[in-house]
């Protein structure tokens, strides 16, 4: 049951992830990205990480992607945009190089069996609940959380300063 669910969700995530980059219209790419996010959220449930699931749904699928779509609509991205021309040799070379590196990494990972460890123990009771995640965030990971929030604050203030300058 769990394996079947994992396979289904992983397939949806992988296929829609692929579709994100091969779509010709920006809006379809964004929609498939939402589907990818949704499938990833499903995988979090399988990992008993309920809080992360809810946040993934709320923040990524519900808020960030709405902004993506909003920007696509506001900028009025042409429906039949051509992003790739066959005569663009430099792009093909760059893409090929990156693909080679990625393939190499994948082969290395398979050969050296990275990430394959002893079967993990079942999650302890209370794992992944809001209480346990909250407690971890405010004890063990307090410093990273605070640093991240300060970075976000700086980004917000920076965005406001840029927007203001443009308006005046």
């Amino acid at each position: 049951m769990e394996l079947a669910l994992f396979a289904g969700l992983a397939a949806v995530a992988a296929v829609s992830g692929l579709l994100v980059i091969v779509q010709r219209q920006a809006i379809y790419s964004a929609l498939f990205l939402i589907l990818t996010m949704g499938a990833l959220a499903g995988l979090y449930i399988l990992l008993e990480a309920h809080f992360v699931w809810a946040v993934q749904l709320l923040v990524y699928a519900g808020a960030i992607m709405v902004l993506f779509l909003f920007v696509i609509m506001l900028l009025n991205v042409p429906r039949e945009g051509v992003f790739w021309r066959p005569d663009d040799l430099r792009r093909i070379l760059l893409a090929g190089l990156l693909a080679l590196i990625l393939a190499g990494e994948l082969i290395l990972a398979l050969v050296f069996r990275v990430g394959e460890s002893a079967p993990t123990a079942p999650a302890p009771p209370g794992f992944g609940t809001t209480e346990s995640v909250g407690r971890l965030l405010f004890t063990e990971y307090l410093l990273p959380v605070e640093i991240t929030s300060v970075i976000l604050l700086v980004a917000v203030v920076g965005a406001m300063v840029l927007a203001k300058k443009h308006g005046e």
């Binding site: 809810a54 699928a61 519900g62 909003f70």
Partner: protein, 347 residues
């Protein structure tokens, strides 16, 4: 094994009841709205079909069902067909965690008490916000795929409005969560049991609306905006946008948007009831009757607002959301956190 089958049957029956109730509410909320607004405007409202026009929703349903289903020529077909479904599915799903009663044995008919909610999950509040935030895609896709500038403007207004007001809405709930200490909806209801003394003199139910009145006000205002209700109904402002995002829709696809809007209203009212008005709690213990009564009361206020208030201008809507509601919600969060910390330190 028989226990498994029994719980499965109970679950299916509960899902069926909730689903049917939501469909019924969607249909008769329209009737209620027309009647109430007519009364406020000194008219009769629907009177022809059935006594008090009670069969009007049935007639409307049959009419919509048999109407020609038009798909305009240059629409984005796939997304045009997808949009109504994307709109209505989250509307139904959000109700899955709502605790609408305590437990019941159905007057002794059932061998063991059945809890009256579909699911009781650890992240209940986040679930409702997460699912309802997906509903905006339906409106958005409808606006975009229709290939119509009025629809597009409606869709864009809806997404901007819903993102803006979702912030204040979530923040207003933080006050509740700080006092209760759980995201579980049944836990939030349980925390509101008993009697409290308001301002030290007035005996009131221990509902969170009395300890978090500002949060309730912010939540209710945002709920109006999130469900695109007057005075925040700019996405479908008929005087400027024809019908907004659903201008190009007809027949059952139009009906699905319509139903989604009314079910979302019911969900927002149910959420406000659960978070602030004690959910199904009443003088004689928790009961679905109290829950339905409170939800209906809030829905009446929704309709009352629509009959009384003129529509905002778009810049007023944005300024109100970002410059008034959001700072207020922040202030409420900070004050509540301080109070909770002081009370926690003292006790």
């Amino acid at each position: 094994m028989s226990l498994l089958i029994e719980s499965l049957i109970v679950m299916l029956v509960k899902i069926g009841v909730v689903f049917a109730t939501l469909l019924f509410v969607a249909a008769y909320l329209v009737w209620l709205e027309r009647k109430v607004i007519a009364r406020i405007q000194v008219r009769w409202g629907p009177t022809r079909v059935g006594p008090f026009g009670l069969l009007q929703p049935v007639a409307d349903g049959i009419k919509l069902f048999f109407k020609e289903d038009l798909i305009p020529a240059r629409v984005d077909r796939a997304l045009f067909l997808l949009a109504p479904a994307v709109s209505i599915i989250p509307a139904f799903l959000a109700f899955a965690v709502m605790p609408f009663g305590g437990t019941t044995t159905l007057f002794g008919l059932l061998p063991r008490p059945v809890p009256l909610h579909l699911a009781d999950i650890d992240v209940g509040v986040l679930y409702v916000f997460g699912i309802t935030s997906l509903g905006v895609y339906g409106i958005f896709l409808a606006g975009w795929s229709s290939n119509n500038k009025y629809s597009l403007l409606g869709g864009m207004r809806a997404s901007a409005q819903m993102i803006s007001y979702e912030l204040s809405m979530s923040l207003s709930v933080v006050g509740v969560l700080l006092l209760v200490g759980s995201l579980r909806l049944t836990e939030i209801v349980r925390a509101q049991e008993g009697i409290a003394w308001w301002l030290g003199v007035l005996p009131v139910p221990n509902w969170l609306v009395f300890s978090q009145p500002l949060a309730f006000g912010i939540f209710f205002t945002c709920a109006l905006a999130e469900t695109n209700r007057a005075p925040f109904d700019l996405p479908e402002a008929e005087t400027e946008l024809v019908a907004g995002f659903h201008s190009e829709y007809s027949s059952m696809k139009f009906a699905m948007f319509f139903m989604a809007e009314y079910i979302n209203m019911a969900t927002a009212a149910a959420m406000a009831t659960t978070l602030f008005l004690g959910g199904p709690l009443g003088p004689l213990g928790p009961s679905p009757v109290w829950f339905v009564a409170k939800v209906l009361l809030l829905l009446f206020v929704f309709i009352w607002f629509r009959a009384s208030l003129p529509r905002f201008r778009y810049d007023q809507l944005m300024a109100f959301g970002w410059k008034r509601l959001l700072p207020l919600a922040f202030a409420n969060t900070i004050v509540t956190a301080l109070a909770a910390a002081i009370a926690g330190a003292g006790g």
